[in-house]
């Protein structure tokens, strides 16, 4: 049984449908990417999974539990952590406070100290800047904090929404290195990305999402060719 499975998911905003009949799966321990041009619905997809946006049709199961239509805080309680587009940190709260909020859940609070130590070990920069306001961090540090905050909830699946957005190319490489290390710690990852080349080096499989539909799927090694990359940026 897959850790995460979507079948026939349709969702949208008001009169506008953003996702049509989307199906995908993520196995335990895998890293999967969803790529596609702007406006394809990648962010919408993650918001549907994490419960921020309701599903109009289709099923969404996480570890066997049906999660479609559950509110966000319940989805998180099941073990899905969403690192949103643009980070969505709490700007005037300190790094430490942001991380603390990540551990809001009861079961996460119990192991708060231990998890915090792990996060600081993964991201030493955060430990250094723990009393600094989140809003004053650099782009790369903010992304690290956002990921660290998600880790604080002791999730089983991490959703990453465009982590490389707004980062300098050097930072992007470092970021993907870090995500690789998170992955090595055993977390299952679903990442939505514009930077197709880099993300394909990181993941096992990838889906191509275009105008709300899954157009292609395959193993990362197979997809890492010119054709796929072009399609991912420009569209079929």
């Amino acid at each position: 049984m897959s850790l995460l499975e979507l079948t026939g998911v349709t969702a949208g905003y008001g009169h506008f449908t953003a996702l049509w009949d989307v199906g995908l799966r993520v196995e335990r321990g895998e890293a999967v990417a969803v790529v596609g041009p702007n406006g394809a619905g990648k962010t919408t997809l993650l918001r549907v999974i994490s419960g921020v946006l309701p599903v109009r049709a289709g099923t969404l199961t996480f570890d066997g539990a049906a999660l479609a239509g559950r509110p966000a805080h319940e989805v998180v309680a099941h073990g899905v952590a969403h690192v949103p587009e643009g980070r969505r940190l709490f700007p005037t709260l300190t790094v430490a406070d942001n991380l603390k909020m990540g551990a809001y859940l009861g079961r996460a609070r119990k192991h708060y100290a231990e998890t915090l130590a792990r996060v600081y070990a993964l991201f030493p920069v955060l430990a250094e800047r723990r009393t600094q306001r989140a809003g004053s961090l650099s782009g790369g540090e903010q992304q690290m904090l956002a990921i660290g905050r998600a880790l604080m909830s002791r999730p089983r699946l991490i959703l990453l929404d465009e982590p490389s957005m707004g980062l300098a190319p050097v930072m992007v490489l470092r970021l993907f290195d870090l995500i690789r290390r998170v992955r090595e710690e055993g977390y299952t990852i679903l990442v939505v990305e514009q930077n197709v080349r880099q993300v394909l080096k990181l993941v096992d499989r990838a889906y191509l999402l275009e105008v709300g539909r899954i157009k292609m799927e395959g193993r990362a090694a197979e997809l890492n060719d010119q054709d796929f990359v072009r399609k991912a940026y420009v569209g079929l």
């Binding site: 509110p71 969505r88 709490f90 709260l93 909020m101």
Partner: protein
């Protein structure tokens, strides 16, 4: 020409008053910052708590501290009740409807108070000594509420910065959706926030009854002023509200001594209007 001693006294009184106003402003601001709804009827809740203290202390002879605690408890209870009965059902409504819901509550509370207790002014008589500080008259009935307000504000600060729930409240006011992604049930946080906001209203009531007499339309006196303080400080900005409380209370106090009480309010409000144009986001508006 006015004796400078009177001006100095007015300035001091302004500070003393500012402390209690800050309680009101911060309570209202807390709720707005988190839930994004202005409780138009907030000061009417204060009015109810003032009546409670009046009846317990003046009529039934309870000790002052007990009456005060009862008012605080009532405030918290009212906060929760208002949230559950009125705010919760309209969380998704258009903002104008949300405003009218609390506006309707204002009418309801003011009329109900009239029905229950008539429009007579009630006050609690406390004979406390006054101190003379270099010619300035410092009545303990003003100093003690100020001191208690400051203590309460410090407690609030600690609550918001040191406790889990308090930090969560601050987080929600910055980004509600992101907090949802942390696994926080926003409704529970709203409830806690409403209870804390109501608690502050209750405490403010317990202090105000020793400074003013209460009547059903008391909310009409301090209500608009409280809203203005909140906006002046920047809606949702706690530090701003704190500062703005003292600015407004000073203006009212000093202008009140130079002209009349009403003119004091008029000038304060005009200053408010002008300040909003100069700094639309509030005097301590955060950039970005």
């Amino acid at each position: 020409m006015i004796d400078p001693i009177f001006l100095a006294e007015a300035a001091v009184n302004g500070i003393l008053l500012g402390g209690v106003l800050a309680l009101l402003a911060l309570g209202l601001n807390l709720i707005f910052g988190v839930i994004d709804i202005v409780w138009i009827a907030y000061v009417d809740l204060v009015m109810l708590c003032m009546y409670l203290v009046y009846f317990l202390v003046q009529v039934y002879g309870w000790p002052v501290w007990a009456g005060g605690l009862a008012a605080v408890a009532l405030g918290a209870a009212l906060g929760i009740a208002v949230h559950l009965l009125i705010i919760s059902p309209i969380l998704g409504s258009a903002p104008i409807n949300q405003l009218l819901a609390t506006g309707g509550l204002l009418f309801f509370l003011q009329s109900f108070a009239t029905f229950l207790w008539t429009t007579d002014h009630r006050s609690v008589r406390l004979s406390l000594p006054s101190y003379d500080l270099g010619g300035i008259f410092l009545p303990l009935t003003r100093v003690i509420p100020f001191a208690i307000s400051i203590l309460a504000l410090v407690a609030l600060y600690l609550f918001l910065t040191r406790t889990f729930v308090g930090t969560a409240i601050r987080a929600v006011s910055q980004d509600r959706e992101a907090m949802g992604l942390m696994g926080a049930n926003p409704h529970r946080i709203y409830l806690v926030t409403s209870a804390v906001g109501g608690l502050m209203a209750g405490l403010a009531g317990a202090l105000l009854i020793f400074l003013y007499s209460v009547h059903p339309f008391f909310g009409g006196q301090l209500g608009p002023l409280t809203f203005m303080i909140c906006v002046l400080g920047g809606l949702g900005n706690m530090v701003g509200a704190f500062v703005a409380s003292f600015i407004m209370s000073e203006i009212i106090s000093i202008a009140g001594v130079l002209w009349s009480t009403e003119m004091g309010y008029v000038i304060a409000f005009v200053v408010f209007i002008v300040m909003i144009f100069v700094r639309p986001g509030g005097i301590l508006a955060r950039r970005g």
